[in-house]
Symmetry: C2
Subunit: 282 residues, 2 copies
Amino acid sequence: MKEDILYHFALGTGTHDFPALFGDVKFVCVGGSPSRMKAFIAYIAEELGLGSPGGDYPNICAGTDRYAMYKVGPVLSVSHGMGIPSISIMLHELIKLLYHAKCSNITIIRIGTSGGIGLEPGSVVITRQSVDATFKPQFEQVILGKTVIRSTNLDEQLAKELMQCSKEIGQFNTVIGNTMCTLDFYEGQGRLDGAICLYNEEEKLQYLKEAYDSGVRNIEMESSVFAAMCNLSGVKAAVVCVTLLNRLEGDQISSSHDVLVEYQQRPQKLVGYFIKKSLGKV
Amino acid sequence: MKEDILYHFALGTGTHDFPALFGDVKFVCVGGSPSRMKAFIAYIAEELGLGSPGGDYPNICAGTDRYAMYKVGPVLSVSHGMGIPSISIMLHELIKLLYHAKCSNITIIRIGTSGGIGLEPGSVVITRQSVDATFKPQFEQVILGKTVIRSTNLDEQLAKELMQCSKEIGQFNTVIGNTMCTLDFYEGQGRLDGAICLYNEEEKLQYLKEAYDSGVRNIEMESSVFAAMCNLSGVKAAVVCVTLLNRLEGDQISSSHDVLVEYQQRPQKLVGYFIKKSLGKV
């Protein structure tokens, strides 16, 4: 290919010098919300002593509103929107970006939000395995109309290191558990408060309890394809999500704005500490 | 339910007066990109003679960066991100919003971008049927771990009226055809330029030609769940997407920025004309 256009990043090998822009990247953190990923880059810059005086970090993908991307030192922070298709587009273009930039020894961590099962809200879950809606550790990828099954294994050692970091911080409850990845937030996760709902509370609770019994501790919408693509690309990966509510007790996210903001900082704190420690700065 | 929190809109029945804010809505236009949906509200305001002097339209969902929402007169414009899960969250909360606001006789139109098959780039496709990756007019919804098949029928009369509008405008090629809705932009649509690709050009072209022969004229990532949910909710719906490239000739979107911007205005022009005509202003 003469030129590779990463359309959804508004970047291209013909217009941007990828090795110069991204060659020193070692850690990539991804999350759904663009403003959260901007907040993360400011946080990690401060933690690594690389803070810019004005505290402003330009969006590298300013030419599009599909994703936002920020960088400081060896850390890249990228938003991915909501759901498997949205993160999969981003990961295809991110993996190509890292390849064109000749990066090596990359660690990718998703820092996100989720619904917890049987955990106090605000608990952080480090994913052991990402499982589908039938609790199997697999991702179904449709290729040219045919379904292919892919493994959703994540790096076990990395999960343990992150757990150790959480113990050292000692500020919030953290567990290692399975994460269920669904294609839908309402019917797909057994919520009763969607626009369409064809089951009752009893059936919902039975499903969530089965999930719990199989080892699921939280539910989100991106981890399976994230694990599958990182696996196939040989990149070390982890998923660290905070739980915004306990789904055994309700469906609506009704905590106050301030409480939710503090919860969302927890994966950032944990992963920020991990990066500092990896760089020998703790 | 005492209060309904539409979490991803940052709106709630306990904090916002839905009938006062949205009771007069008759047309809802949705599209992936927040900036495109902002441009659409400015365009339709001008067209309907409801333009604000400064030309500024506040984002109703300013409390979150998950979606953006704008309103002028009877028209609501909402972004939905990329992919089935992302638009499905938005539609659940949109349908609840319209219900709480006591709206009636709503028409919802998705105005989007797509890859064309066998069409000159810039052509507009009005969807007859949304089909899956095996060309069937159905959407598989996973509910509590079990797959349920839903119909993806769209309003035939509305599609014809939109086609008539395009003839009256006479500015760009428009066809009625089937739209294939996929869960992935790269492997799911037979692209050869993703980070992962396990098939060759011949297999890709064979798949796209089979799609063409079955009546598919464009490929995007939201129409099936959009059709299914509008169907189940009894809301009249249409999908109008411009094609950014002809997939029989390539995978990369390499037209210039200005050309792509003009293409993306075509569904807006078509739907803007339809709304004006529906309101007796043509």
